[in-house]
């Protein structure tokens, strides 16, 4: 009896100590990662509220002496040329990203459903062909796509971007959604069809609502991808009034190479929409990955 209690009392502190070691290691690691992640963003924010003169000092002002929102006012002021450009780029990015998002959901949903439910010949081949798109960098397709867009008259239009952006989002979207449809019991649809629904009605009324998290995740992914895309926009667009934000900001920087507060303010405002969108909907994203892609 005494020996048993002895071993327990001897065993327990040792084990707790070891677990604590792991836990403290984990905490220290998280603090490190937090600093690594957040400090660059904090420095961006601090720089963006300095004047151009205050930013170019050595040693730097760790905290701005005279914080100012001048850079933001300049970018958002429709009266001056910088503000006009920035707002136009913002609007262009919004249009291109929204169009891409809507189209990729429209294209990906039926495709993913078919890959999940139907057994037509060539199904696996087509599925993997779609997934393989992920493997190839934009640059490989750039020259021929440039020729193609020139031939069909889409160079310098937002249509050329929407068409190419569609294909980035599609593979992951189809893969995620397929996983979702795999997990929705066929019996639900069969029950609906016995009650007189057509296949299409069963799909719209039963399957679509159940796969909503997957569709939301797909939409976020497409939107963020399109919002941040740079290389095609950089190559296909040359007219100033059509540029999207990433390219527009690069042009801004090449014209004002020392205006770091302005550049940081522009980077910040460019990041706000996608970060907010993602933070609002991130639980759908992780859930979609868990239920869709990873669970097997």
């Amino acid at each position: 009896m005494s020996t048993v209690s002895e071993t327990i009392s001897r065993g327990q502190p040792a084990r707790r100590l070891r677990i604590d070691g792991w836990r403290w290691g984990g905490r220290a690691f998280l603090v490190f990662m937090l600093l690594y992640t957040a400090l660059p963003m904090i420095w961006m924010l601090l720089t963006s509220i300095k004047s151009g003169f205050a930013a170019m000092q050595f040693p730097p002002q760790w905290w701005p002496d005279q914080p100012t929102l001048a850079s933001y006012q300049k970018l958002l002021d429709p009266q001056n040329s910088v503000g006009q450009d920035f707002l136009r780029f913002f609007w262009n990015s919004l249009i291109v990203s929204t169009a891409t998002t809507i189209l990729s959901v429209i294209v990906a949903v039926p495709a993913a459903y078919a890959f999940s439910r139907f057994t037509f010949p060539g199904r696996n081949f087509l599925f993997f062909a779609v997934l393989l798109r992920n493997m190839f960098p934009a640059v490989i397709f750039l020259v021929p796509l440039f020729i193609l867009m020139r031939a069909i008259g889409l160079v310098n239009t937002h249509g050329s971007l929407v068409l190419t952006y569609l294909t980035f989002g599609l593979p992951l979207a189809i893969w995620l959604l397929k996983g979702f449809y795999d997990n929705i019991p066929v019996q639900l649809e069969q029950a609906a069809r016995i009650d007189g629904a057509t296949r299409f009605q069963a799909f719209i009324l039963i399957v679509m609502p159940l796969s909503a998290p997957g569709i939301i995740a797909t939409a976020i992914y497409s939107f963020i991808g399109a919002w941040n895309e740079y290389i095609y926009a950089y190559t296909f667009l040359s007219k100033n009034e059509q540029l999207t934000l990433p390219v527009g900001i690069q042009r801004f920087f090449s014209e004002n190479t020392t205006d770091f507060p302005g550049l940081m303010a522009a980077s910040f405002m460019m990041s706000v929409p996608v970060v907010v969108l993602f933070l609002l909907l991130q639980r759908y994203f992780v859930r979609a990955l868990t239920e869709g892609a990873v669970k097997h």
Binding site: F29, L142, V143, P144, L145, T167, F260, H296
Partner: protein
């Protein structure tokens, strides 16, 4: 005689097979309508460009991309690449860039996912903050870090000087020896959250009972991780690492915006080099030949990617 009848026999046996496939395809004709839009987009934006790139790689096309004036040169573009010194330097850079970015991003992301697996106050906020770099544009990230690394007013240089570790701010991205590691740090900053999200999703599928059973059997934290959690995550890990490797191999924006491949090619990787050859120096043929080589490498990687994914499929089918 016997041979002829044998052939006829073979044909008879073959014919039903082909018509069987066609009949099946016809029966399922409505199913194709669902996939058709996706396939059509893919064909226009992928299959056609692949074909065209291969064709262009055997020609010299004038700088203005006048396709009528292109001249057939056989494999000249390929030999020009393989015999140039820049090719090996760029390949070496690409290998280091891809391997270091992928490995460190995965390890950091996986560790962060594990550390965030246990619930504590503020976990949601912490996770959200760690994901932000992955969400923001690589262009914005490049400029933020370009400013941080700035050779006169950069904050890292200033901190080093304040601490007395350096007499003057070091050149991070203007020096041949430090430029690639500096860019890799930026790339990891943007990529580790992806590994974290994937591994977080994976961790949620590890059955709780197994871990508890292992604990009852006396396994310590490390043993539980190594013998229960990790084997369960093998598939997710493979897919994550492959996706990271491909994304890193294909990255363009960070080196392009931060250094443009310089100084003296020290931060050129394949993609930036191809881009510069094509749209900078307008050597379309050489750039296309590069693309074809890249394509072959990626197809090899793609084979493993599909195998990892179809490993999932098979399990799915048997379950």
């Amino acid at each position: 005689m016997t041979i002829v009848s044998g052939k006829a026999e073979a044909r008879r046996r073959l014919q039903p097979a082909t018509s069987d496939v066609l009949r099946k395809m016809w029966e399922h004709r409505a199913d194709y309508a669902y996939v058709l839009p996706a396939i059509a987009v893919m064909l226009i934006v992928i299959a056609y460009p692949i074909y065209y790139t291969i064709e262009l790689s055997f020609f010299n096309t004038p700088p203005g991309l006048q396709l009528r004036d292109k001249i057939f040169v056989g494999f000249n573009n390929y030999t020009a690449i393989l015999t140039s010194g820049v090719f090996w330097q760029v390949t070496f850079n690409t290998l280091i860039w891809t391997a270091a970015s992928t490995f460190i991003s995965f390890v950091l992301g996986f560790a962060a996912a594990l550390a965030l697996h246990r619930d504590f106050i503020g976990r949601g906020i912490l996770r959200a903050i760690l994901i932000i770099p992955w969400v923001i544009s690589a262009v914005a990230a490049s400029y933020i870090w370009k400013w941080i690394y700035h050779s006169d007013f950069g904050i890292i240089g200033a901190v080093l000087v304040e601490l007395g570790w350096a007499t003057r701010p070091p050149n991070f991205i203007d020096s041949v020896s430090t430029v690639l590691p500096s860019l890799i740090v930026v790339n990891i900053w943007r990529e580790f959250p992806f590994a974290m999200i994937m591994m977080t999703a994976g961790l949620q599928t590890v059955p709780e009972q197994l871990l508890r059973a292992a604990k009852v059997d006396g396994a310590n934290a490390w043993q539980r991780f190594w013998h229960v959690t990790f084997p369960h995550l093998r598939n997710v890990s493979t897919v994550t690492i492959l996706l990271l490797a491909v994304a890193n191999f294909n990255s363009f924006i960070i080196p392009w915006i931060m250094t443009g491949g310089g100084p003296s090619n020290a931060s050129h990787i394949w993609i930036t080099h191809i881009y510069e050859l094509a749209f900078g120096r307008q050597r379309w043929g050489v750039a296309s030949a590069y693309s074809v080589l890249l394509f072959i490498i990626l197809m090899t990687l793609g084979y493993f990617y599909v195998r990892a994914l179809s490993g999932n499929e098979r399990k799915d089918g048997s379950a």
